[in-house]
């Protein structure tokens, strides 16, 4: 008290001058300070009270009400219950197996030597030195080995060694190995999808939702075998194969070679993991002539009887457009397709017009990336400025690059009655499939079916014929782009087919990358020699699998004349006599008035032979008419061609 008193006195002497004023200010300041301190105290009290209330709320009333004890925090290291992926028939394509991984806590290991010896009796693949090193480290946690089998797990556990522990884990297993690698993709060590369906549906799969895909693993297997055979035979660097349901857009098979084994993620290198079907975009070549013909017919620019002068190569600016299978004469629309005439296709496209061409290609789904449920979807390469020269080259498939998948779904439009159905890798529930957007009229589609059939009966695609089934399609062979210009000896050979042509159900596409011709193919490595036979074999094999009975009277049997044909590039010259005899047997071809307006009968699957007759009758007639006109290079009736194969 005394000390305090003396202090006060000291203070008051110090501020003796103007003490009254200062004393007043001091009093006022103290008054304000006390009032405001009270406010502060009240605010802090409220904060403490809020904490108290919240504590009661948490502990007594268990705010939130959820039984927190039962909740298991998702451990990012152990993704539990990643769902299965199955094919369209429910066959398991990807699943997760629980595994146990062995770790050690070296500080709790009593005798490292003993532990190592005992462990090696059960896990002989371990290296003793390495194991001892791990067991003697200072850390509290070391992995010994991952993914034990249940039997190993049991045996190690039975050793009863202290300091060892198991981490429950999960391993993604693909029972079919590399068979559907590109569609399925793969997961990383933490069970996250990093490619393909695994990536695209990562969230759904984690949430435990089973994914049923549109693939049929049996057809996938056939396609892969045939592709691998083609790659082997023609020493190709790769291949792509697609089987697409023409009506629902479902991908029944998707194969890209070379491939990888998703069970061994290290096998997925940049080359092997590349999905040629969906990610790769390529100049497709002559298969594009189908689109050119379809848009020309559909827009009314030409009819089947229209013809173009293909006797001279086209010279435009510094380019020359020539024909591979040159006929050096006027060609009708069917002939342009059957003989794969670049000149004819280019002239036809010019007549169609650049804008119309672009509109149609867009509606065929060729100018935009396919809206597929895979992360690996390639963007088509389309000219920025679309000039006359672009129109001409695009007419026969150069100067535009699309993915094989886009080509297949575009061709589906040509044959399925003219509707664009977006492709999908998910199984579509029956009756739930989208009806698609109309692109072509039913009549155009019908004519296209005939033209595609003609390519297989009379043209470059004869080797795609499958005994007992009505196959149609179109070949394509392109020189691959090099840094400057095109490489002559590096080609992409493809065939896009459809069957059965009277009521097409499937599009089958095979593309072989850089095939080399061999003796059997007379050194040809064209689509007709390399890809068409593979398509034919796939169709032959898958048709019986999907329960499609072959025609009892296969056409070749009807034809008496058998004259072997050597090269696809030179159609045989037929004698008029044979021609006449055959025309008599077949339904009367003349007088033919090909009219696009004439109603076409709906294709019926159960009467395929009659359907085909009717279908071919119309397109074939034009060929006959042209034969009569053209003295120099007569083409025999289709039966002749069929007989020769």
């Amino acid at each position: 008290m005394a000390a305090a008193k003396s202090k006060t006195t000291g203070k008051s002497t110090r501020k003796s001058s103007g003490a009254r004023r200062i004393e007043g200010a001091r009093k006022q300041a103290m008054e304000t300070g006390r009032n405001r301190l009270l406010v502060t105290g009240i605010v802090l009290s409220l904060a403490f009270a809020a904490i108290g209330v919240r504590l009661v709320d948490l502990t007594v009333f268990q705010a939130g009400g959820e039984p927190r004890l039962a909740q298991i925090e998702p451990n990012p290291e152990v993704a539990s219950g990643r769902a299965d992926i199955v094919d369209r028939n429910g066959i398991l394509l990807a699943t997760s197996l629980p595994t146990a991984s062995l770790f050690a806590d070296p500080s709790a290991v009593l005798n490292a030597q003993e532990v190592a010896d005992k462990l090696i009796t059960e896990l002989p693949e371990l290296n003793r030195q390495e194991l001892l090193g791990k067991l003697k480290t200072k850390s509290r946690f070391v992995w010994i080995t991952r993914n034990l089998t249940p039997k190993q797990h049991y045996k190690v556990n039975r050793l009863g060694l202290p300091g060892l522990g198991f981490q429950r884990g999960e391993r993604r297993v693909y029972p079919h190995g590399r068979l559907a690698a590109h569609a399925l993709g793969l997961t990383d060590v933490d069970g996250r999808g990093i490619a393909g369906l695994e990536q695209n549906f990562d969230r759904a799969l984690r949430a435990g939702n089973r994914i049923q895909v549109s693939l049929d693993i049996r057809i996938q297997s056939m396609m892969r075998q045939e592709l691998a055979a083609a790659v082997r035979e023609f020493r190709a660097i790769g291949a792509a194969g697609v089987v697409l349901d023409a009506n629902s857009g479902e991908l029944v098979s998707l194969v890209s070679l070379p491939d990888f084994d998703p069970n061994e993620p290290s096998s997925a290198g940049p080359e092997t993991a590349f999905n040629r079907v969906t990610k790769g975009v390529y100049e497709m070549g002559s298969t594009f002539k189908l689109f050119t013909a379809a848009m020309a017919l559909d827009s009314g620019t030409v009819d089947l009887n229209s013809s173009y002068d293909a006797s001279q190569p086209i010279k435009i600016s510094r380019f020359t457009i020539r024909d591979f299978h040159a006929k050096n004469r006027w060609l009708s629309v069917p002939e342009i397709i059957v003989y794969s005439s670049n000149i004819g296709a280019a002239k036809m496209a010019v007549d169609v017009g650049t804008k119309t061409q672009r509109d149609y290609l867009d509606r065929f789904g060729l100018l935009r990336p396919a809206a597929l449920e895979l992360p690996e979807v390639g963007k088509p390469l389309v000219p920025k400025r679309w000039r006359k020269i672009n129109t001409m080259t695009i007419a026969y498939g150069y100067g535009i690059a699309v993915s094989p998948l886009q080509l297949a779904s575009g061709v589906a439009v040509l044959v399925n009655g003219g509707r664009y159905v977006p492709p999908t890798v998910l199984k579509t529930v029956a009756g739930n499939s989208s009806t698609g957007k109309r692109v072509l009229s039913e009549e155009t589609s019908e004519l296209m079916r005939g033209l595609m059939r003609l390519v297989v009966t009379n043209g470059t695609g004869r080797k795609a014929a499958a005994k007992g089934y009505i196959v149609g399609g179109k070949t394509g062979t392109t020189d691959k782009l090099a840094v400057r210009g095109y490489r002559k000896n590096a080609t992409l050979s493809s065939f896009v087919g459809a069957f059965p042509m009277n009521a097409p159900r499937y599009i089958v596409l095979v593309m072989v990358d850089e095939p080399k011709g061999n003796k059997r193919t007379f050194n040809y490595a064209t689509g007709g020699w390399v890809a068409a036979p593979a398509v034919g074999r796939v169709i032959q094999r898958m048709a019986s699998l999907i329960g499609m009975a072959p025609d009892r009277q296969p056409e070749p049997a009807k034809v008496p004349v058998k004259k072997p044909m050597i090269k696809a590039s030179t159609p045989p010259k037929a004698s008029p006599g044979i021609s006449k005899r055959k025309t008599a047997a077949a339904p009367p071809p003349a007088p033919i008035t090909v009219s696009r307006a004439s109603p076409s009968p709906a294709p019926r699957r159960n009467d395929s032979a009659a359907d085909e007759t009717l279908m071919l009758q119309r397109v074939r007639a034009v060929l006959d008419v042209r034969d009569k006109k053209s003295e120099a290079d007569a083409v025999g009736p289709p039966e002749q061609a069929l007989a020769t194969y």
């Binding site: 305090a4 300070g33 301190l37 502060t40 904060a47 904490i51 948490l58």
Partner: protein, 374 residues
């Protein structure tokens, strides 16, 4: 019955009869609870880091012993000597903070620690009590003598210290210092318009921190949108309170300490909740609130503006740390690393708080008959 007679005028005798024994008792209780909780919460962390089981507990016991000694020693000082001590400790701490920026080690993205031998020192903890007292001095001088530029000096000092803190960066500590300084300024009689202005500046600073510092943003986002999952630590802490219930699971029976890396420091309150239940948690809240409000009520009777402001600053700092730590633990606000005074593990924090509380005890001693002057 007290062993010291009221007539005892020795240093200790005077101290005993003028000191606020209730606050002393409350602080002693907090220290005891802190010691018990450290024993409960720190062994798993010590084992995780490869130390022996009671490594942290032993160290914290030493710190707490030192803290008690510091509190006692400082509580003997006169207000004037407190002021000297404050200036000295603040200048020293600022020098060390600058040194930290250049010599400190970066831990989890922030440079806050200075390593001296086997000890690490968080200099910014020691700047707080000194800063509070120096600012109180500056405010009161200007208030009593209008010619002195106390407001300007303290504002400059504030900006300098916060600047140093944000360079580390240490947003939490900046918030504590800003709250403390703001309240002092408010109590010192800042015009209400300016109070509003500073309030807005504080708000703007908080929002600014949200945009300027990624880790602040992440925490706030998670707090505002719990659907995205509360942070791991917070959800574990909440679980601990659920499991604790009324009376807790019993000493040593808690699980949260096994999974929370900061169970012995920032999340020790959750350990208290799990093992000792609501009873101890509420007792702790009451003890802390008592220290703060008791200090306020003592200082209300004081006649010295400097004492009033200094005590206010020190107690607000103490209260804000308690509130932020507890509110983080029970998910009332985005998690903010902040120690619970005398409970959380940490030498710098414990000793710096002892410094502050010693000052509070010294400033709130009975002098000149308290309210007699009124």
């Amino acid at each position: 019955m007290s062993a010291i007679a009221r007539t005892d005028t020795s240093l200790v005798g005077r101290w005993w009869w003028t000191i606020d024994r209730w606050t002393l008792a409350a602080l002693a209780s907090i220290v005891v609870v802190g010691a018990v909780l450290t024993l409960a919460a720190s062994p798993p962390e010590a084992e995780r880091l490869g130390f022996d089981t009671f490594y942290f507990a032993r160290r914290q016991f030493v710190f707490l012993g030192m803290a008690v000694a510091v509190i006692f020693a400082i509580s003997f000082l006169s207000p004037r000597n407190i002021r000297r001590l404050a200036v000295f400790s603040m200048v020293g701490a600022i020098i060390l903070m600058v040194a930290t920026l250049f010599l400190g080690t970066e831990i989890k993205g922030a440079t806050r620690w200075l390593h001296i031998g086997s000890y690490s020192l968080q200099a910014s903890e020691f700047v707080k009590p000194g800063f509070a007292v120096v600012c109180a001095w500056m405010f009161s001088e200007q208030r009593l003598d209008g010619r002195f530029h106390g407001y300007a000096i303290s504002t400059g000092l504030f900006l300098f210290v916060v600047g140093l803190l944000l360079m580390q960066p240490d947003v939490g500590m900046s918030v504590v210092i800003a709250a403390m300084w703001g309240v002092q300024f408010f109590v010192a009689g800042l015009p209400l318009l300016l109070v509003l202005g500073i309030g807005f500046a504080f708000l703007a600073g908080t929002v600014g921190a949200y945009f300027a510092f990624g880790h602040v943003q992440a925490r706030v986002d998670r707090f505002l949108d719990p659907a995205g999952g509360e942070s791991y630590q917070v959800s574990r802490a909440l679980e601990a309170f659920y499991n604790g219930g009324w009376a807790g699971r019993g000493p040593g029976e808690g699980r949260v300490k096994e999974v929370l890396p900061d169970a012995h420091a920032d999340f020790i309150f959750a350990v208290a909740g799990e093992e000792f239940g609501l009873v101890l948690c509420l007792a702790l809240v009451a003890l802390f609130a008592f220290v703060v409000l008791r200090g306020f009520s003592r200082v209300l009777k004081s006649d010295d503006l400097y004492v009033l402001l200094a005590t206010t600053g020190l107690l607000v700092q103490f209260a804000v740390q308690v509130i932020i730590n507890m509110a983080s633990n029970i998910n009332l606000m985005p998690p903010k690393g902040m120690t619970l005074p005398f409970i959380s593990y940490g030498g710098s924090s414990t000793l710096a708080l002892a410094l502050g509380m010693g000052m509070v005890l010294a400033l709130t001693r009975d002098r000149q008959g308290g309210g007699e002057n009124r």
